[in-house]
């Protein structure tokens, strides 16, 4: 028998999950493993499909845990035999205690940043003229053949990518600086070539969530060139270093 594991935590009891359907409609229960409990269900031995319904069910169970105490959520699809799960908790006891202490009393908040317009991506093209003449010992490369034109096009692309990366990093730094100490920890991913250029997850004290949201509203008003999307509170998916 293989268990589907939603999260590990302390302070969790079955009452928090009563009547809650897990992945594939399975019944959710709490498995006591010493000082730590695992929230699990038994959806059968078939692989759990990564579809919308199951993804929502996985988060629903973790959100129910978050309503009681901040858990360490597992990655979607985590499965383990009961004895293996027990051994894992026993072997990793100290690390789990430390990981739980890290998230205790905190929740994850998420911020996504997009540029307001596509215009910023193309600003690099305007500086090309002078720079090209400097290349190849001052020769006028613009008048050359297909191979040279190809390299010039690549140069434009590379400069555009570098500029986009620099601007995404600046936006991420602006966000971190604006939040100050409200984010106890952050996990940031920059994707300069995509529409959403920064995806930041912040670990925030529960008591500071309202202040965090207000600060982001103020930050959003500062930057006309950026669009912000804030969401949360979420279980600390980005701060839970377990399977």
């Amino acid at each position: 028998m293989s268990l589907y594991v939603y999260c590990l935590g302390d302070g969790l009891s079955g009452a928090a999950f009563e009547g809650l359907a897990g992945v594939c409609g399975s019944r959710v229960r709490v498995l006591a493993l010493g000082s730590v409990a695992a929230v699990v269900s038994e959806p059968g031995d078939e692989a759990v499909a990564a579809d919308e319904e199951n993804l929502l069910a996985h988060n629903r169970v973790n959100a129910a845990a978050l309503a009681v105490a901040t858990p360490l959520p597992c990655r979607f699809g985590t499965r383990a035999a009961p004895e293996r799960l027990e051994r894992y908790v026993s072997d990793k006891g100290a690390a789990l205690s430390s990981a739980l202490a890290r998230v205790r009393g905190r929740v994850e908040m998420s911020v996504k940043l997009m540029w307001k317009s596509e215009g910023r991506k193309t600003e690099v093209e305007s500086e090309e003229g002078g720079a090209l003449r400097a290349a190849a010992g001052g020769a006028d490369l613009g008048a050359a053949g297909a191979g040279t034109a190809f390299l010039l096009k690549k140069r434009r692309e590379i400069l555009g990518e570098e500029g986009a990366r620099r601007r995404a990093e600046e936006a991420a730094a602006w966000l971190a600086s604006g939040l100050g100490g409200l984010a106890r920890e952050e996990a940031v991913r920059s994707s300069p070539s995509e529409a959403i250029i920064v995806r930041a997850a912040h670990l925030v004290e529960r008591a500071h969530v309202t202040e965090y949201r207000a600060r982001l509203r103020a930050l959003a008003a500062e930057r006309a060139d950026l669009r912000l999307l804030t969401s949360g509170p979420w279980p600390p998916y980005n701060f839970s270093d377990i399977g």
Partner: protein, 122 residues
């Protein structure tokens, strides 16, 4: 491990806040549509998976070569003839890659490996 008194009940349900919902919804929907379906292990998909991996590595090296060529061009150490020759060689390499991608039915965005927290390979 006793439950901590600091672990007070969670705030309300997750809330989403933005002044630009349409743009974010459209973008997140587009990203969700790109999520891979479940992997089917059969001869065809294994062959394509291997081709994807190999072509991803070739693509990475090809892009590094392009960057190096552009740096050399910018450095001014190449004659116009050398620049032209280098450009033509890299152009042919790009054309050959396009042929291989078409042969294996791969799109540009598929030749990039998501390395999780550290971002994408290319």
């Amino acid at each position: 491990m006793e439950p901590s008194p600091l672990d007070s009940p969670a705030p309300a349900e997750p809330e989403v806040e933005t002044e630009h919902p349409a743009e974010f919804v459209a973008e997140l929907r587009r990203v969700a549509d790109r999520l891979p379906e479940r992997v089917n292990i059969d001869a065809q998909s294994v062959e394509q998976g291997l081709a994807k991996l190999v072509l991803t590595l070739i693509e990475l090296i090809r892009r590094l070569l392009e960057k190096q060529a552009v740096r050399r061009m910018e450095g001014g150490g190449l004659s116009p003839e050398q620049v032209e020759e280098l450009g033509l060689a890299l152009m042919k390499l790009e054309e050959k890659m396009a042929e291989l991608k078409e042969h294996f039915g791969l799109q540009d965005e598929e030749l990039n490996i998501d390395l999780g927290p550290i971002g994408k390979l290319i």
